[in-house]
Amino acid sequence: MDGFFIIVIVFLLLNIALGLFRVWRGPTVADRLLTTQLFGTTGMAILLVLAGYLKDLTLLNVAITFNVLAILLVIGLVQVWKKKKGETP
Amino acid sequence: METYQIYSLTSAVLFVIGMGGVFVSRHFIKKIIATIIMGGGVFLVFVSLAERDALTFADPVPHALVITGIVVAVASAAFALALARRIYQLTGEESFTNDK
């Protein structure tokens, strides 16, 4: 069972590494932000699996923090960059 | 190869990358980020050593140092950002220039 968990974690990490390509290319700021969302969600999945693998339930608190941070970044981007209209990012 | 060895080697690499970034990059924001990456390298050494010296639990003193260190690094980064933005507002320059 533990070996399977490690495979899942490695798979999810490679998934993140693949998705980071979009930060590099993404034409707009919003595209780049998407990838931090991806990192947030996938990171939470990794933390959940790690919590089962290490049998350490406190990792779930870290997962909630990841979630908080994702929503903070989105609202930050949307509100801070709001007035900048018609300019190419 | 143990877990802490991998991370302590990584920390040395991160520190050197950050140092190179401080020298090479021109824009203020990049310089600030480079110093934060350097700091991340230092914190990684501390925590990997705490993992090595673990008995029933990992050494708590480096953990506490790193937590306070992160908060202080963030406060100083905020100050640096404020300075950089002020310089930009007053002079329109985004980086240090020699020709003055």
């Binding site: 990192f39 406190t58 908080v68 929503i71 | 920390s11 990358i17 190179g20 990684l44 306070t68 002020r86």
Partner: protein, 329 residues
Amino acid sequence: MSIMIDIILAVLAIYLALQCLFAPRLTQTVFLFFAFGLALALAWVRLGAVDVAITEAAIASGFLGVLFLDALRDFSLAPPLKWDNLEVVHSSLATKNPKSLFLPRLALMLGLGLFLLIALEAVWKIPEGGGLTAAAEALLPESGVEHPVTAVLLNFRAYDTWLELGVILLGLLATFAVGGIKIYRKPPVVADDILLRQVILFFTPVLFLFGAFLLYFGKSGPGGAFQAAVLWGAIGILLHLGGRPVFSMIPRWLGQLSLTVGLGFFLILGFFLLAGGATLFEYPPAYAGVLILIIETLAAISIAAALTAIFANLNQMNKEESNQIESTN
């Protein structure tokens, strides 16, 4: 087998750091930096430092992330004035002979390479047998809490934590000194979107409760003042972004009180302990648990207020927005 995870994480962190610093565009740099922070948070988890992971994820990626987004917008707007000055700079850069940069670059690369080798060797050969784990473990029953990191932060090395509150307050004062005190002004951006307002209203109590949980949980597990402070600070930032700047809604004395209460209570407590014949921050073991909880709560309020104020102040540094406020008033 589980070493695979560590290797991939380490490679990911190094790759992200490199890409972050050598990306051609500034937005790439900033967003790759967020990803770097999250990768580092996963690394802390792998090293068993769950407290550090929470702090890193929330502060170094969330709080700094919002600050950087704000700054990025400022820098990507057209520069305010002095175009001729800027052109001089650009032309001087263009005329610089590329050959003259070759030697310094070579020297820099050589120096960095040598330094890397030395650092790797130094890290590899750090002598065994140090560490304060045994000392911390022996004194843990007297500290009033069960979690060793909290015991170190708020009892054994309370001095550090106290001074750190001072450092954060100094950082806030320094940003005031640079940008001018404007946080008591009216908000620049009001949330005109009903969903945005509702989600902020929903997340405010959730964040508050989760922060309080972490604060109390810090007694027996990963959590404590800093983690709670970051979550409460996130509430302040969210409310500010949603057009409800906390510091202009509460009376001024309350804002000042919340900024200084952590530092002040520490100071008064230390004074009374000294007057009672103990050393600074030597809590009587019977009351240590209660005292630590009170200190943690007050420190968390102070740090959260300071983070909110730093963000509010930096957010209103933007020239265009402040001009707009003046024109609408």
